[in-house]
């Protein structure tokens, strides 16, 4: 098993860990952090492949993802703060006002 393969496994594990966290955790902030985990799994995979191919394109793309992720967090955290101020809880289960 060479280095690339190992890194790919680590990336996949990171992604799966994040996804599992999003699905099973009830705390909104934890869910957000898990989403970051998934993003980083993808980033790791990208960087690994870019290095293996000897191309800088993948690395540039990773920086782009960082920027997008930062913007996403900058929007998501205030939303979470507003939600918390409304319901006084971080439990995602209590935000079900649009339930049919």
């Amino acid at each position: 098993m060479d280095k690339v393969q190992v890194l790919q496994f680590v990336a996949a594990a990171l992604f799966a860990l994040g996804l599992t966290g999003v699905v099973i955790r009830r705390n909104v902030l934890v869910m957000l952090m898990c989403m970051e985990l998934m993003l980083n799994g993808v980033n790791l995979s990208l960087v690994t492949f870019a290095h293996a191919m000897g191309s800088a394109v993948g690395a540039v793309l990773v920086f782009l993802i960082f920027v997008v992720a930062t913007a996403e967090i900058a929007v998501a955290i205030p939303i979470v703060l507003l939600l918390v101020r409304r319901k006084r809880t971080l439990d995602v289960g209590s935000f079900s006002d649009l339930k049919g």
Binding site: L19, V22, V23, I24, R26, M31, V92, G93, F95, S96, D97, L98, K99, G100
Partner: protein, 625 residues
């Protein structure tokens, strides 16, 4: 602006002034405007008549306004003044002005004084439009307009539901006739491409026959005339129209508007000369109407109802004259009838005024000495309508009887017999009315009797003028005057020897009617009472007007109400239209109710489903890759 346009516009101006600002102007000003403008219109009409005479009777024509130009056709508001128009316009403005003046006294107490004069002027405007219009289209606008004015004035006291309903009835029955009129107009336009009446007459009189049956057009136009001129089967609105103020009954429902149908047929005589079938129908309908209305009039007790049925009957006389081709004679009767019937109605108004609103002749009697001017003028008009020479009605009715017998265009002994009998009935019921009102012992309550008083001079003056006209009006031979335009029909040679017999006969008929009425109703009217008791069944049918209103109600009224309610309202409106909308709405609501359960509100479930979707698509790609 020409003189003819001026005649028409003067009453319209009166309508606008009184209608828009009348309540703020005071009764005196309203009266001056309301009566002054028709009087000026009358003066202008006289001026036009003199112009017509000076111009060697060549018709005056005037185009006021190009209404619409569509391709090659142009629809103009044009006026036309020939001998026929002259007679009609003089009667309309002359009698109209007199009745306006009478109204000052009659309506003095009414709180809607300005509205009354505004409506009356509006009526005069439309009536002049009808009479002066050169094209059928202008005539039709006037025709509808007088119907509107009639509706407004019948229901003038609309606070009373019965009066409002009478106005509605008049309007509806006129609309039925108008449908026929419109179809006739369409038929004429599609065949000739013009509404110009002189041109239409010329086309039907010309060498090549137009591509439409003259009888069809004639019958359709006559259906319109039956509505407006209260002939069978559409006459039932006229007796109810007496709900309006009495001067309105005199002006609209006796002297002018109801003769519009007669005018229409006479004006379109070019068509009817080539429509023997239509002419036969007109004569038959006229004779039947005259007879039927006269029999009903015998058994009525309301002074205005008697006069109303008398009007229907006299209109029948006019249509008989039209049916046998004696158009000038019909117009002659229009002209004499306008005087004596206006005089009778206004006299009745004066009686009602004196009796503090009482209209039942059973509760009158002995009024002759208390209201002498009304009494004398009413007597003259009664004698005139009964055909006693040398009063106006004698001349016109005698000519109608003569042409009913001898005209080469459908005169017959049967027609003559029916009309002669009707003339007898006319004399009888008119003198019955006269006797019960003015002669004998008073039958009213004491306080009413104490209150009886003669009307003011503005009312009695008009009565005197109309009585004089009813007396001497017949010496102007209108048929002779109209002959260059509306030639009289050939008379059958075989009947020629009987001409003076007919004249003598009509005098005898009038005298018999008079004598009969006096014989029956003199003293305490016990002879009439005995007859009534002997023929109780007949009397009941007559006093209930042959149950025609009830028949129409069963035949048309109730089925229409049922269809409107069951089919249009309950099935059409509520079930189909409302049902479709409500159904669609509830389908959407229910479907949305089911679908909304998909939204659980649980973020984990959504995320899980995304995960499942992603895994599924990966698996699919793997297996198909």
């Amino acid at each position: 602006m020409g003189l003819l346009t001026l005649i028409v516009l003067l009453p319209l101006l009166g309508f606008l002034v009184n209608g828009l600002a009348g309540n703020r102007l005071g009764k005196r000003f309203v009266s001056v405007v309301g009566c002054g403008l028709p009087a000026i219109a009358f003066a202008v009409t006289v001026k036009c008549f003199l112009d017509l005479q000076a111009g060697g009777w060549a018709p005056l024509a005037e185009t006021a306004y190009a209404w619409a130009v569509v391709g090659q056709s142009s629809f103009e508001i044009a006026f036309w003044f020939d001998r026929l128009t002259a007679v009609m316009a003089l009667v309309v403005t002359g009698v109209g002005t007199l009745i306006h003046i009478y109204s000052i006294g009659y309506m003095h107490e009414d709180k809607s004084y300005a509205r009354y004069f505004a409506y009356l002027n509006l009526f005069l405007f439309f009536m002049l439009l009808l009479v002066l219009g050169k094209s059928l289209l202008v005539l039709f606008v006037g025709w509808e307009g007088v119907g509107l004015a009639s509706y407004l004035l019948i229901g003038f006291w609309f606070g009373d539901m019965e009066k409002a309903a009478a106005g509605k009835k008049a309007f509806v029955f006129n609309r039925i006739g108008d449908a026929g009129f419109l179809l006739g107009m369409f038929a004429i336009y599609s065949a000739l491409g013009t509404f110009d009446m002189p041109a239409i007459n010329a086309a039907f009189m010309g060498a090549s026959t137009p591509a439409v049956s003259a009888s069809l057009v004639g019958i359709l136009l006559f259906i319109g005339a039956t509505g407006k001129s209260a002939q069978i089967p559409l006459y039932v609105w006229l007796p109810d129209a007496m709900a309006g103020p009495t001067p309105v009954s005199a002006l609209i429902h006796a002297a002018t508007m109801v003769t519009a149908g007669v005018y229409l047929v006479a004006r379109m005589s070019g068509i009817y000369l080539h429509a023997p079938e239509a002419s036969t129908i007109i004569a038959a309908v006229g004779a039947l109407t005259a007879l039927m209305a006269a029999t009903i009039a015998i058994a009525q007790d309301d002074i205005k109802k008697v006069l109303a049925y008398s009007t229907v009957s006299q209109l029948g006389f006019m249509f008989v004259a039209l049916g046998v081709g004696a158009y000038g004679v019909a117009i002659f009767h229009v002209y004499t009838h306008a005087f004596f019937k206006a005089c009778l109605f206004l006299g009745a108004g004066s009686v009602i005024h004196a009796m503090s609103g009482e209209q039942d002749i059973k509760k009158m009697g002995g009024l002759g000495r208390k209201i002498p001017i009304t009494f004398v003028t009413f007597a003259v008009a009664t004698a005139a309508i009964s055909g006693i020479p040398p009063l106006a009605g004698f001349f016109s009715k005698d000519e109608i009887l003569w042409y009913a017998l001898a005209s080469g265009r459908g005169g017959s002994v049967l027609l003559f017999a029916v009309m002669a009998f009707t003339a007898l009935l006319t004399a009888f019921y008119m003198f019955r009315l006269f006797w019960l009102t003015f002669m004998g012992a008073p039958r009213m309550a004491k306080e009413v009797e104490h209150h009886v008083h003669e009307s003011p001079a503005s009312m009695t003056g008009v009565l005197v003028v109309l009585a004089v006209l009813s007396a001497v009006g017949g010496f102007l031979s209108i048929p002779h005057f109209l002959e260059p335009m509306l030639p009289l029909p050939e008379t059958m040679a075989a009947m020629q020897p009987y001409h003076y017999w007919v004249m003598g006969g009509s005098i005898a008929i009038a005298a018999t009617g008079l004598a009969g009425a006096i014989w029956f109703f003199a003293g305490d009217a016990s002879r009439a009472g005995a007859i009534r008791a002997g023929f109780a069944g007949v009397y009941r049918v007559l006093s209930n007007k042959y149950y025609i209103d009830e028949l129409y109600d069963r035949l048309f009224g109730r089925p229409l109400v049922w269809i409107s309610d069951a089919v249009f309202l309950r099935l059409g409106d509520r079930m189909i239209i409302d049902g479709t909308l409500n159904g669609l709405a509830s389908v959407a609501q229910r479907a949305a109710g089911r679908l909304s359960r998909v939204q659980t509100g649980s973020l984990h479930k959504y995320a899980f489903l995304v995960l499942v979707g992603m895994v599924a698509s990966f698996v699919w790609m793997w297996t198909h890759g």
